[in-house]
């Protein structure tokens, strides 16, 4: 091989290597993240079709007061506009059914059903509202209290951070919501509190728009 052929070969080799690297880089650069508001609008559009939701949940509470995570298992029911049911089966029987402004609570220890008015209990109202907001799909209305950013697209993960003027800022550091691939409902919610406690809530076996019997909203049905 003459010197000229060697140099040509080397040149072509270098070009080939550079071209391959360039194509590799272009494949590895992710698409730019979409604008959060557009995403939320898209999510709300899909959530608008949702009338009822039934899902089993596993909730891990990592609390400083406990030396190990508290794992709760139970079932969530939701029916728009204002019916919400939270039934815990393990480790302690607990049922909470909300219809409009009124909350009925039961637990297996006391076996008593307590009735609470949300409008007369601002703290309880705030706690329940957090859960309903994340599950209801009305994310654009939350933007007044939270700044939202997109953490990932496949699956879609959004992070909500309370604004300085928002009421939840006293308790919540951030809320991360992960959606199922079809983005129709939530798969997982992670809530990090200002005091360091955090909660991971995972939904499984989710059924959308399945009819829910009226008796399901009677807390007595869940008493055992």
């Amino acid at each position: 091989m003459t010197k000229r052929r060697a140099l040509l070969f080397l040149f072509l080799l270098i070009c080939w290597i550079s071209g391959g690297a360039a194509s590799t880089e272009s494949e590895s650069v992710p698409d730019p993240l979409p604008e959060p508001r557009e995403l939320l609008a898209r999510l709300e559009e899909k959530a608008a079709e949702l009338r009822t939701l039934k899902a089993d949940f596993v909730q891990e509470k990592h609390l400083a007061v406990l030396d190990r995570p508290l794992v709760l298992k139970g079932t969530l029911l939701m029916q728009k506009p204002d019916h919400f049911s939270w039934i815990v089966r393990e480790p302690l029987g607990y049922a909470m059914v909300i219809r409009g402004d009124v909350v009925h609570q039961w637990n297996e220890d006391t076996q008593q059903v307590d009735k609470i008015s949300l409008s007369e209990n601002p703290l309880f109202q705030m706690a329940i509202r957090q859960l309903r907001d994340w599950l209801s799909g009305s994310y654009r209305s939350i933007l007044g209290d939270y700044a939202v950013s997109v953490l990932g697209q496949q699956p879609l993960r959004l992070q909500f951070v309370p604004r300085d003027t928002a009421v939840p800022r006293e308790l919540i550091e951030s809320v991360t919501v992960e959606f199922e691939r079809d983005e129709r409902y939530v798969r997982q919610i992670t809530i990090v509190e200002r005091r360091g406690d955090w909660t991971l809530l995972t939904f499984v076996d989710t059924l959308l728009n399945d009819p829910i019997a009226p008796s399901a909203w009677d807390v007595e049905q869940h008493v055992r």
Binding site: D67, L92, D101, S119, E120
Partner: protein, 779 residues
């Protein structure tokens, strides 16, 4: 001389225009201690100075959240100095921090019975139960809020206290719900903001500034929001607007009518002096009265037209006498005695008001007497010199009455007719009611009342609670006394019915005793026992070793002092509602339903605690009624004594005095009968008017009796007629008043004076002929 009078009057007019007059209804109320104390409390209590803005979502396209955002926008736009604070709801976040901080104050807030209950929990079963309850809290969806409380108060010591605090802090006395930390109505179409302002309801000019500022801010709201402003400031502004308008209208009508009357009846420009002197006297009297009294009431100035109508009588009689004598100024001597008698009797009526316990009535007495005295002086000394001479009309002499024949027959009919009317009036008076409801004295325009009606339909709160007020030189003293009252009150009506700061905020001595007791409690081995039990039982639930260190490590902390409690937002907000700071001390307020049963019970409790008092609308209304009723009887008695005595002294005869009182009796029976027949009630302004009518009608009686007795040829009938007409112009002008007080005065006086006038002309001469002399009659 006239020029000097004109200059003086002009100066007085300028002075009167710049005066700051009092627009305080309390001036027209009796000086009863209980009433004044209640009225002063309502006037000085800050919540009567609060302004409420109710926002309504007018479009169904807008959501409640949109309305709340608009409310937030409005809240941010309102700033000092006119608005010092805006309360739009109860923030869940603020409440959470406050309640958590409150746990640190347990040592001073937990009393001996509560410590006994804690003692019962420091046992294996007790600790087990507490831990189980805490575990349940962590299982519920609200565990994020519960976890800090579990750590700070594992035994649930604060639960009772927190319940009381939540109830006290959530309620404003309205039917509200809390949504997103904001007050919303039950229909979720309204939200409310309570504005604190340094502008009191009695500072009308600043109130106008405040309302204008609010309207500018409300103008920035989105189109789907409508707003109503509710508060005492609107009433003050509206009352002043109405009264200013009424005073202008009344003075304009009466002034114009006087001018027309004298120009067209007398056809003599100098007749304008008859109008000028009373008005000048009024204007000068306003300045003099204000100088003496410091703050003359608007209500009293509003009666200026009536006083002018009374005062012009003296000038009329003098003028008619001079003109009847062909312009001879010395003709005034013929009428001087009856004119002075009439003025004295009228002044005697007003002098009775000096004995009143109502400051407004005393102001009326001074103002009226000054005005009448000045007018009398002008009529007797200035007017004859100015209206004498050959110019002007000659007053025709009335034909002599022979006192018999046709005249006697007509007189008999008149007497009979009068007797029938009097009988009917007396019968009608039997159904007379007295109404002391002070709300009818409110002359606010319809838009103010309608806005409040709408507000109460949405938010309730129409039935305001009664208040039990406990004063003290300092907050701690007031709290100490309030605590004693609280114990008595809850023993009677339970904690739920009696909203009191003393349920949660203890006086310093009690807090110090609690702190000492708390320390001693834990030092006696209970701390060690609790730590041991927690170690033994907590791990079964997964609680960490230091799970309850926030509670255990602070067991011996001080956590005391008044400042400590007040530094908590929740206590600071409670203090605003339940504590009033005054120049002479502090008042702690407790609220309970304003119902007869509870008012009666609380009255008894209040009597056992000297210095405390109740403020109840119902009690106030009853007290007013009793006080005004006794005031009426008292003043009527004084006037009933002064007038005949003075008339008798001047007339020198019982029979003549009785005759002079015929118009008085007729006027009183007529106005009282009219009020009753129309289904109306007698009220304080009507009483004033009735007494003024007495002062006027006695004049007619005195003039007619004097004319009959002394056979005066001074045109008495014409003069009495003109006097009555001018008075009726003054009183009648008030019939156009919108303010209920001024209208009541006008209608009462018009009826009384008209009846008295008619009887003086038609009944007094024939009665005189029948009872005193034959063939006599007035000319």
């Amino acid at each position: 001389m006239l020029g000097l009078a004109a200059i003086l009057t002009a100066a007085a007019a300028v002075g009167a225009g710049s005066l700051s007059l009092a627009n305080d209804l309390e001036l027209m109320l009796p000086g009863d201690d209980q009433i004044r104390r209640s009225m002063r409390f309502l006037r000085e209590s800050h919540f009567s100075d609060d302004v409420v803005v109710s926002l309504e979502r007018r479009s169904s396209d807008a959501s409640l959240e949109d309305l709340i955002r608009a409310a937030d926008q409005l809240e941010r736009s309102l700033e000092p100095p006119l608005v010092t604070e805006v309360v739009s709801g109860v923030s869940g976040g603020d409440l959470f921090e406050d309640l958590l901080s409150l746990v640190k104050h347990l040592p001073e807030l937990v009393d001996e019975p509560a410590l006994s209950r804690i003692d019962a929990r420091i046992s294996p079963d007790g600790v087990e139960e507490s831990l189980r309850a805490n575990y349940r809290k962590l299982v519920s969806p609200s565990s994020a809020f519960m976890a800090p409380f579990v750590r700070s108060d594992p035994l649930g010591i604060s639960s009772e206290l927190l319940g009381s605090l939540r109830e006290l802090s959530s309620s404003l006395g309205y039917e509200v719900e809390i949504e997103d930390g904001h007050f919303v109505s039950r229909d979720h179409a309204h939200t409310m903001l309570v504005l604190r302002t340094p502008v009191t309801v009695t500072e009308v000019s600043r109130a106008r500034e405040l309302v204008a500022y609010l309207h500018r801010s409300l103008g920035e709201l989105p189109d789907f929001v409508s707003a109503d402003i509710i508060g005492g400031h609107l009433h003050s502004i509206s009352n002043e607007d109405v009264m200013r308008r009424d005073v202008r209208v009344a003075l304009s009508i009466s002034g114009a009518a006087f001018m027309l009357l004298f120009l067209f009846v007398f056809r003599d420009l100098r007749a304008a002096l008859l109008f000028f002197f009373p008005v000048a006297s009024i204007v000068v009297s306003i300045n003099l009265s204000n100088l003496i009294l410091e703050h003359l009431s608007y209500f009293i100035v509003g009666m200026g037209g009536v006083i002018a109508g009374i005062s012009v009588d003296y000038g009329i009689h003098v003028y008619v006498a001079v003109r009847s004598a062909g312009g001879r100024a010395d003709a005034v001597k013929q009428v001087a005695k009856p004119v002075v008698t009439a003025a004295l009797t009228t002044m005697a009526v007003f002098a009775a008001f000096f004995f009143s316990r109502v400051e407004g009535y005393r102001q009326l007495a001074l103002f009226s007497i000054l005005s009448i005295a000045l007018s009398l002086g002008c009529a007797l000394f200035l007017l004859p010199q100015l209206v004498g001479g050959s110019r002007g009309i000659a007053v025709a002499r009335a034909p002599r009455s022979d006192g018999a024949g046709r005249g006697r027959g007509r007189g008999g009919v008149a007497i009979a007719g009068w007797a029938v009317v009097m009988a009917a009036g007396v019968v009608s008076m039997a159904g007379l009611r007295f109404d002391s409801d002070i709300r009818k004295f409110d002359g606010s325009e319809p838009y103010v009342i309608e806005a409040e009606e709408k507000f109460h339909r949405v938010w309730g709160g129409r039935d305001r609670p009664a208040v039990l007020v406990v004063p003290g030189q300092s907050l701690d003293e007031a709290l100490r006394r309030s605590r004693l009252v609280y114990r008595d009150a809850v023993a009677v009506m339970g904690e739920e019915g009696f909203a009191s700061l003393s349920a949660v905020w203890l006086p310093e001595q009690e807090r110090a005793e609690n702190r000492a007791r708390w320390k001693e409690f834990w030092r006696q081995g209970r701390e060690a026992e609790l730590r041991r039990l927690l170690r033994e039982h907590a791990s079964a639930y997964g609680f960490s070793k230091d799970a309850f260190s926030p509670f255990l490590d602070d067991l011996h902390a001080e956590g005391g002092g008044e400042d400590g409690l007040e530094s908590l937002g929740i206590f600071s907000r409670l203090k605003e509602r339940f504590v009033q700071e005054r120049q002479d001390g502090v008042q702690v307020l407790s609220f309970f339903p304003d119902e007869d049963e509870w008012v009666s019970e609380m009255s008894e409790i209040s009597e056992r605690h000297p210095g405390t008092f109740l403020v109840s609308r119902k009690v106030l209304s009853r007290a007013l009624s009793q006080s005004i009723s006794s005031e009426i009887l008292y003043l009527s008695g004084v006037a009933a004594l002064l007038v005949p005595v003075l008339a008798g002294l001047c007339l020198g005869s019982v029979r003549l005095t009785a005759l002079a009182l015929v118009p008085v009796a007729t006027g009183v029976v007529a106005l009282l009968g009219m009020i009753s027949a129309l289904g109306l009630s007698l009220d304080a302004p009507s009483v004033i008017s009735a007494i003024v009518a007495v002062g006027l009608t006695i004049d007619y009686g005195v003039f007619m009796v004097s004319a009959c007795h002394h056979r005066l040829e001074t045109g008495t009938r014409m003069a009495v007629t003109l006097s009555a007409v001018t008075t009726l112009i003054g009183a009648g002008a008030l019939l156009f008043a919108r303010h209920p007080i001024l209208f009541a005065i006008g209608s009462t006086m018009t009826t009384g004076v008209l009846a008295g006038y008619v009887s003086s002309l038609l009944v007094v001469p024939p009665l005189y002929r029948s009872l005193v002399g034959k063939g006599a009659g007035a000319r």
